[in-house]
Symmetry: C2
Subunit: 464 residues, 2 copies
């Protein structure tokens, strides 16, 4: 946990940014795997972590703005619990570490909120993502699940605050990134012909676990990098494959890292792989240099797309004017997704609160229709204190190529004959995490090799 003062300060700021009423925070429960008492590992809700820091299932909290008080709702262990689970720090003590003096039994939450509602005051709550919290909210507020109305005012105030990372949060994120760096180096040592994808995944998870880290998301470790959301891990690596590793650690306090590297299963890249890799890396380097306060991330995304097109034109897969190609979204045959996203206590930071509030503004909302842009999670202008990922890529998706070719789509910009040669090429992505500083950006963590030469040298050294 951070200091009690930290949580108190955060709550004070939040309180001043919402006009009135009661702010409700629901912690997460332990989710059952195959029966109630066989749970997945516990992960506290990130907003709860941010304002209270208490890693305990089945607790809630309120900040009563009108009456200026904060209460944590939860239950102390009974003597029965202690017999089975051992003596533990009391909830009261945990709350004191969070700067909260008042605790009430969990069962009293409902009653407390009823009183608030009956007195005509507003209960602000966030969009629930765990079904248990949907049921709980519906029960305690007396509203049908489908009719729950999260508080936009509360969401906006939280997003405003959590978007700007404190120095101590950056320390946590860098710790996550550095463990992620080690995971990626290990993958580069482990991945070789005849190894299974899941063996690489297991090795990096084992490394992270021994540093008291969870995965910040299910790792994508695959020889089919052209499949964007790929969690199939039973393939066997073989000479000539490209291996894509998109994985990151989460510290015990909940902060995420998120990195991607792509490298050959053989000791060296083939010429074709190297050429394509250089295109992605060039787009990455140029995008990185554009990071600074006031620049729209959407513009960096489009600029990166243009750099990808320029490379693909040189290689003969695309043709015509790169700027026009991007305007016509022709690049989305190869780069179907977004350049990056916010990162913090969640790998897609605050995604549960609604992408429109995290990544966009009311004046400049998300393009939810256009293929490509509809997958860009972050579009708005950068601010000092944001933490973002930059992750351009090129993905050959046979099914998508077939559809476009059948429609002769963007034929002015795409050489379908040449594309055919790359049909089963797979995918390449390079991703790092950055802090936006007052005058630009800072790479988070100690840095991870990424040039063709660095990767080939590292692997030559370790695959001997």
């Amino acid at each position: 946990m951070f200091s009690a003062q930290t949580y108190q300060d955060r709550r004070s700021v939040l309180q001043t940014n919402v006009a009135g009423g009661v702010l409700l925070f629901l912690g997460n429960i332990e989710n059952p795997v195959n029966f109630e008492h066989n749970p997945y590992y516990f992960r506290q809700d990130s907003t709860y972590l941010y304002y209270f820091g208490i890693q305990e299932p089945r607790i809630a909290a309120i900040i009563d703005i009108d009456e200026n008080k904060t209460i944590v709702f939860g239950d102390e262990l009974s003597i029965d619990d202690i017999v089975w689970m051992g003596r533990q720090e009391t909830l009261k003590d945990k709350c004191l570490k969070s700067g909260v003096q008042e605790t009430l039994p969990y069962a009293e939450l409902s009653q407390y909120l009823s009183k608030v509602q009956n007195s005509g005051r507003k209960v602000h709550y966030l969009p629930p993502y765990q079904s248990s919290n949907k049921i709980l909210l519906s029960d305690i507020l007396g509203i049908k699940i489908a009719e729950l109305q999260p508080s936009v005012e509360m969401i906006k105030a939280i997003v405003k605050q959590r978007s700007i990372k404190e120095a101590q949060e950056i320390v946590q994120i860098e710790q996550a990134v550095n463990v992620s760096n080690e995971m990626h180096l290990l993958a580069m040592r482990v991945a070789r012909p005849d190894v299974k994808e899941y063996e690489v995944a297991n090795a990096i998870q084992y490394l992270a676990a021994n540093k008291e880290c969870q995965m910040s998301y299910p790792p994508i470790v695959t020889i089919n990098g052209g499949i964007l959301h790929n969690h199939y891990r039973l393939n066997t690596l073989k000479e000539g494959d490209l291996f894509l590793n998109d994985s990151g650690a989460e510290t015990s306090m909940g902060y995420a890292g998120d990195l991607t590297r792509t490298f050959p299963v053989s000791k060296t890249f083939t010429t074709k792989q190297k050429e394509m890799y250089e295109i992605v890396l060039n787009a990455f380097n140029n995008a990185q240099r554009l990071l600074k306060p006031g620049v729209r991330f959407k513009d960096i995304h489009l600029k990166a797309s243009q750099h990808l097109v320029e490379g693909l034109v040189d290689l003969g897969l695309m043709k015509g004017n790169p700027e026009d190609a991007v305007k016509n979204h022709a690049h989305t045959l190869f780069f179907q997704c977004g350049l990056g996203h916010m990162m913090g206590l969640d790998v897609h930071d605050m995604e549960d609160l609604g992408e429109q509030y995290i990544g966009y503004t009311e004046e400049d909302p998300k393009d939810t229709k256009t293929f490509g842009l509809k997958s860009l999670r972050l579009g708005k202008s950068l601010e000092s204190g944001f933490v973002v990922t930059v992750e351009p890529g090129i993905y050959m998706i046979p099914e998508l190529i077939d559809i476009w070719q059948a429609e002769n789509k963007n034929a002015d910009f795409i050489n379908y004959d040449k594309v055919y040669e790359y049909r089963n090429f797979g995918g390449i992505r390079v991703e790092d995490d950055f802090l936006i500083t007052d005058d630009g950006y800072r790479l988070l963590g100690d840095g991870l090799i990424k040039t063709v030469e660095e990767i080939e040298n590292y692997r030559a050294e370790h695959l001997a």
Copy 2:
């Protein structure tokens, strides 16, 4: 998956054991960790696995007994899905492997069941344990969550069938037990002074993961074995500690293993540890020999309790007649829980369906009041084909000792002065998995060392 015939046969048997109506099966969803699209690993519902074998989130199925038809409800991948997730085996093909010819879109489940209800026919469903399925059931049946009424007829028919394991299920369980055996041997090699508890947990999970296994439950790996539900793992092992490892693997088809071993962190047991270990092991060996069809597991539990008491009398912690001590529940100061439980597709097999149906009968229901017996999951007579765990233990729980001593509880049977010397002794448990055969029992898996001599020799060999 097993053969299509297997699933067809299982469904046919089930159909004949329920008088009429429609049997509803809900698969599990992917549970979100900290936002909707960041899920825990997927685990299919065990009953769904048993009757359909399809490992896919967000599917359901019905068996319409009256009309003798079986339908799986689920959605094929859209072209958008394929672009992001790659081409995969169709749901239709998966259903064929399960012997199901008919599939309908997931959204039609609600409509189908409305028709059934409107025609006055009964929809049988099981107790939902995942909140998402509580919401789903409530929505599609138009019943409040708190008022859902699972079908006892369906539960009983399923329990009857799943309790008797098929030969091919035993093969799966033995596979899980054998991986669990390896996990335990690894723990005995890894655990030593200065190692952290979580490092042992991570090592055994890594081993299992490389054999394509999950944990069948969160491992208990602890130097505080006296805490029964212990998931704290930050302690450092030191000379003189006892290390308790309660962990098991789950095969990719969902079958569980569940083993416990307790061993010294030093190379050898102390005299005190050895004496206590022999008491537990003796109770274990005697309990094992009593396993056979027709014997009430509750009686074996009580007999094992008596064996524990005999040992504790010899050691001076207890006194008086052991049989009387057990009748007065005096043993529950040291053995607070049950001797074992059913195991199969769940480590506590079918616990989601209700313990009263799995472990007990209407004529001989569970004792839900008495400390000790209220924690015995299995009480009924054994049958050939049951798979059960046997896991006696002795646990020193300072908080419980204090309460009993303050009340002078069972003072005729307990030497509180002597118990005080063992106050911080910790806990010992020994656990194996058994198949009940026609004439007795068979240890599942290839066997795992458990005598003092075997454990000390193994560790002497590997800690050099």
